[in-house]
Symmetry: C2
Subunit: 395 residues, 2 copies
Amino acid sequence: MISVEEARARVLAKVRRTGMEVVGLAEGFGRVLAADVVSRVTQPPADVSAMDGYALRAADGMAGASLKVIGAAPAGHPFAGEVGPGEAIRLFTGSFVPAGADAVLLQEDATAADGFVTLNEAAIAGRHIRRAGQDFTAGEVLIAAGRRLTARDVGLAAAGNAPWLSVFRRPRIAILATGDEISLPGEAIGPGGIVSSNSHALAAFVTASGGEAVVLPIAADTLEAVAAGADAARGADMLVTTGGASVGEHDLVQAGLATRGMVLDFWKIAMRPGKPLIFGQVGGMPLLGLPGNPVSSFVCALLFLKPAIEVMSGLPGEAPRTERMPLGAGMKANDQREDYVRAAISHDGVVTPFPVQDSGMLRTLAKADALIRRPAHQVAKAAGEMVEVIRLSDL
Amino acid sequence: MISVEEARARVLAKVRRTGMEVVGLAEGFGRVLAADVVSRVTQPPADVSAMDGYALRAADGMAGASLKVIGAAPAGHPFAGEVGPGEAIRLFTGSFVPAGADAVLLQEDATAADGFVTLNEAAIAGRHIRRAGQDFTAGEVLIAAGRRLTARDVGLAAAGNAPWLSVFRRPRIAILATGDEISLPGEAIGPGGIVSSNSHALAAFVTASGGEAVVLPIAADTLEAVAAGADAARGADMLVTTGGASVGEHDLVQAGLATRGMVLDFWKIAMRPGKPLIFGQVGGMPLLGLPGNPVSSFVCALLFLKPAIEVMSGLPGEAPRTERMPLGAGMKANDQREDYVRAAISHDGVVTPFPVQDSGMLRTLAKADALIRRPAHQVAKAAGEMVEVIRLSDL
């Protein structure tokens, strides 16, 4: 048996980034930048007013002074002339500060009448003025390559005048569920049959992780069907199978893929749930064989598929992020296998493992807020002691 | 000035859920269920083996016993006959336990030879058997209406044999940026002009929040242009404007929309950044007028638009979730306005406010991991003291 850490490192060593593509800014949200976003503009482009008010010379800015209002400069309509001594210009948030002016009087500190404005408070040089380039200047890197774009990043790229973005292509993940016993939802269910949950759970998982899922038809338990699935996956960035990763005679994924010249590794991983994992490659396409059990399949996807998709997407690809939380109930000592325990997080941040952890129970997986990660040989923990927790959120 | 809490309550009181639509299971991820998912099947459909091994009668399960293997029952191929005394059936994970059998011998505890299997360990009644319906039974509610579907929920709905899902239609949010000074990225920038960041930042924000964004052309600062924008928004579930929500003479959103018979509220909210907010309604369409400043616009979107989209999507619609974290640097006492302070979260969970908080600085917004929420009149805080934090994640 190998450790989770080692298995993940071996998977990540074999997957590669996808190529670049150009997308419109409006399609950029959630994509991973393949090239820096460099600003084409300076922001603000000139000294601008941070408030509604009046531009004037600071030398005229004594409280009680009265200045002649010689024009207005709404945002987008800069004042063409210059503000001279004894003069003021009406302006608004975002208005360019006109030549000659170096102070802004707030509108609420001003009394305007008959073409003049009287200062009820002193106006101080530079106050309420945003300097040209205060946010960024043309030529600066606004967002570095390798970042997954947030909504705010999209706004920042827009402000930097970037209508197009170079991003990594979303990795295409082909999903091949195998097994004579499974049908897709709504199809006829054979005797001894069940409905396949893995294909579409994994497809959603791939979407949530930033990939593009290609769901292949279910493969029956024959060498030919599994091989045909591998053929159908051609052009994908990775093939993910479920089922057939155990050691029973009827587990045909390894044998079926071997007929297509795949080099396969089979690992037993020191973890629970989800011990057996297939990993290999044919041509340029990596293959990840997950267990057929839906809970094991999900946990393995979280530990191995998600970071693999991240690496293919141009991100670092790390172990799931953990947080430390106090336990709501005690847990027995752990054995030699790293354990991922379905659990609920209370409103006040206490994590409580579900009492029954049978890996056949998909419902408790769906109900879980988090997995408690228990390292191998972890000692027993009492309620209130801290444990490491992986939030499942939208996964 | 009204409080953030009161403004949010007033917005949420006026928005309504969208209608239902039916989507395929494969499109269900991230959608909000409008009707319960009720299982059409029982899972497991019968008692099944949890392991690879042999089915037998517990009465025959003494260590050392030797049983005749009368057949095999791979998953999907149940054994049609009955297991009699002295007999065993080869089975695999997920295989139905055949009639007559009530115990499973693990394969690793068995020695098979010449059509017989010898028990190296005792087999105990019921062990390694998953009972019919252990996960769920036909007719049970698997996922309740009102839940946003995770990848795991999609798997659970599949397992319950649900090829279709009733979900709330994604709310369509029309976005109208206003201002003579703004252009879209890549377009010509006029004198005194800047590039509009709000339209596409908000569109991404709407997508991230579960809505569908409709970006309208930028409206110039005329009554007619703003009114034309409102016309173009017809059929949307909400119109969001940016800019023109201040008190300057050139803020025309209120006046422009009034020409279309909108009933408008204008609120000054006791918050920083982003004081002024317009809210109103015409016909069935609510209107939310955000400030033009991109930082203020984002913070107001987080506080008011996101919960509004959630309510329209069929979710409760709550204030952004906060966590408590220790400060990495001291903060001065707060004034009468609730404050949202851009901040970084370190690897070890310490939150440090950025030293410069000018609301013109979009770049510090994009860099922020979180906003520190400071209630009105909060006393000064020293480094190490706890504050409330809103993580920004993909927003």
